[in-house]
């Protein structure tokens, strides 16, 4: 027998909303702008998501991203906790929709601040966006190399990637975010997400097969 969690539509209660939001939906202001959850949803106590509901289901994703970017448990835990505190304060500005890219954006920003302070793993190359779409970006994936790739070898290859490349691998391959969601989290255009993902995959494969990439190697 399954557990029943029965929802009763709660009516008759109202939730005070910030003035700015009320202003937005004054009569005559046909406010169903893109990406904004309409007032009917936001004011319904039944469907208005709480901070916990919006962010806690994504705690594993948040930690995974932080752990890959900062590369140790202690820093990752601190960063995620800091990010959740910030998110809580900023929750008033959350416009509804998917909480995952929203919380991951904050986690990423905190991690980058940590990296910047310690000068670790930050982008070490100016990324050439003109490369996007060139055939080189779509270097052939070597089925045998990937099939035989050992886990340690893959992790080593990941560790050699600068943050801007390892994060797209984590967000896409491990967390399953779409290009659009990654673009939101990393605050770059979708085209840049595609070229970074292509380059990251290419670098990882080069790391596995020992073939040199066109770029100079990136040390830690």
């Amino acid at each position: 027998m399954g557990r029943f969690a029965i929802e009763y539509p709660a009516r008759g209660g109202t939730i005070p909303f910030p003035d700015s939001f009320v202003d937005f939906v004054q009569p005559g202001n046909n406010a169903t702008a893109k990406g904004v959850v309409p007032l009917s949803t936001m004011s319904d106590p039944d469907t208005r998501p709480s901070f916990e509901h919006t962010t806690l289901p994504h705690l594993d994703a948040a930690y995974n991203l932080a752990r890959w970017l900062l590369r140790n448990d202690h820093d990752a835990e601190d960063a995620v906790q800091d990010a959740y505190l910030r998110a809580q304060k900023a929750f008033g500005s959350f416009r509804g929709g998917d909480g995952r890219p929203w919380i991951l954006t904050i986690v990423r920003n905190v991690c980058y601040t940590v990296l910047r302070r310690s000068r670790r793993g930050l982008p070490t190359e100016a990324f050439d966006d003109s490369l996007h779409g060139s055939p080189d970006l779509h270097a052939d994936a070597n089925a045998a190399a990937w099939r035989e790739a050992r886990a340690e070898r893959l992790e080593e290859a990941m560790a050699r990637l600068p943050a801007e490349f390892s994060e797209v691998i984590v967000l896409h391959e491990l967390e399953g975010l779409s290009y659009r969601e990654i673009a939101q989290v990393a605050d770059v255009p979708i085209g840049t997400v595609m070229s970074r993902l292509a380059r990251a995959r290419q670098k990882l494969q080069a790391g596995l097969t020992g073939a040199p990439t066109k770029d100079s190697p990136h040390g830690l």
Partner: protein, 248 residues
């Protein structure tokens, strides 16, 4: 489509980012081109290796506990909403108990059966690789596809902007009645939304969790709705809220 274009697009295809028409063109080309087929195979192996051999670090329990402790104890909505909830909840509990006592094994068992059935259909659709009969991210393709197959028009909307892109539709049966199954994606997960005529058994709005799957049901305009997925409950509720909002 030629080899150059295939080569340029195959990553985006495996990443699930191509539209249906381009996806089919690419598939047609790779079927007849061994060189491109090998590239697709390589990209597929790469995705598998990364997904399965790189560790996904889960949040330590202590971190989760610390974050939970840092949350404010009092919910802002609670003081206003509580009395209404209490009264409605208590009244509904009593009513539910009475109905249950009066008609044990009746309606409740019926809808419980429907949930289990919907979850089973959801699981089957994933296992059999038979998620969709019509594969399209375009609501204007999916909606007419159902015409002539079922005697009602399920509201079809794409919720890509809300994080749940429409991927297609399928014909299914729930409770012995023909149902439209609309398929949405959430990352690597699928959400099946079953829609069928309510007749004289409209579903109460209700959320059920069973064996790691979650279902939310509701009813409106003569149709029953049941959304089923393995995604977190909060995500599923986001989905149903977005769908109801867009189809009002």
């Amino acid at each position: 489509m030629d080899c150059n274009e295939t080569r340029r697009l195959l990553d985006a295809d495996l990443d699930g980012e191509l539209d249906l028409v381009t996806h089919l063109e690419l598939e047609q080309h790779t079927r007849s081109c061994a060189a491109c087929q090998a590239l697709v195979e390589g990209a597929r192996e790469r995705a598998i290796a990364l997904r399965e051999r790189l560790p996904r670090h889960g949040a330590p329990a202590a971190l989760r506990a610390r974050i939970l402790r840092s949350l404010p104890k009092e919910r802002p909505a609670a003081p206003v909403a509580w009395p209404a909830w209490r009264v409605a909840g208590l009244a509904a509990c009593v009513a539910f108990a009475l109905v249950g006592a009066y008609n044990w094994g009746g309606e409740r068992a019926l809808s419980q059966g429907l949930y289990s059935e919907a979850v089973a259909e959801h699981v089957r659709s994933l296992q059999a690789g038979h998620l969709t009969d019509v594969l399209s991210t375009d609501q204007h393709t999916v909606k007419p596809w159902f015409a002539g197959k079922i005697d009602f028009a399920p509201p079809v909307v794409d919720l890509a902007a809300q994080g749940f892109p429409l991927v297609g539709g399928r014909l299914d049966y729930i409770g012995g009645k023909p149902a439209a199954a609309l398929v949405f994606h959430r990352g690597h997960h699928a959400v099946n939304l079953f829609v069928w005529r309510s007749g004289d058994t409209p579903l109460e709005r209700r959320t059920v969790e069973e064996f790691g799957y979650r279902a939310e049901a509701w009813s409106g305009s003569g149709l029953n709705y049941m959304a089923v997925s393995e995604i977190p409950l909060a995500d599923l509720q986001q989905f149903t809220a977005a769908y109801r909002e867009r189809t009002r």
